[in-house]
Amino acid sequence: MGVLDKRKKKRDPGEIPMASTSDVAFLLLIFFIVMPMKADEIGLSLVLPGKETKENTVKVKQSNVATIKISYNNVITFDKQPMPLAQLEQAIRDRLLANSKTVIILETHPDADYGMMVACLDEIKLSDARKVSLKTTKI
């Protein structure tokens, strides 16, 4: 009798629970939607003048030019006057109020830090100056 009973017994086939599959899919979906959003680039945009030709060379009156110079030791001057970085935005704003045609020229020494140039460009952007030109001081 005992032997017959053992033969009748059937093993319960193992089952993988599938109920949470859609939850996993949704989690992966959120991951793939959010991932590209996080990797945005932040920075300051600028359009370079392009190749120098007679057509695209613009002559500007000296009175309409405001020059910011960064020396080799990262000292800033605004129209030959030494100026701390914190006061630069207001100085540009004042200059633009006095003359709206002002073109800002940012002249940086090749040995100056790139970070200082970006800091000055940041102040120029914050002061809403539209006409900006980058210039490199010749050694």
Binding site: M35, D40, I42, V118
Partner: protein, 139 residues
Amino acid sequence: MDFGRSSRKDPYIPTSSMGDIAFLLLIFFIVTVVFTDESGLVVTLPRADAGEEGLRDMISNVFINSAGMISIDDVIVTAPDVVSIMAQKMQENPFMIVAFKTDKHTPYGVVSDVMESLKEANAIKVFFNTDMEITGQEF
């Protein structure tokens, strides 16, 4: 008559296909997502308040570390090499924006030389990346 006995079934939204929809969307996002495989150079970006978001799809990176090494597509190049590389990239995508991922202590002269090469290659839209620390392979 059986009219009185008929009972209305409660309305319900079938949710059995939710998992299938999630999987389809998941496959779509997995296929379309683009992971950048460019490791670049180790740089500490400068900080800026006027930073704006850049279109990631349009951007081509130029890494410059504090020692003045230039890396494009994980290849160390010199400033004059940038002309031919960027000219080729401009042919593939005329709306390309060149993003400078440059260390804040890099001498500006190196950046200026690269910008001159970009003008030659007619890649005039530039973007100075700010405020994010980027890690990559060390040289």
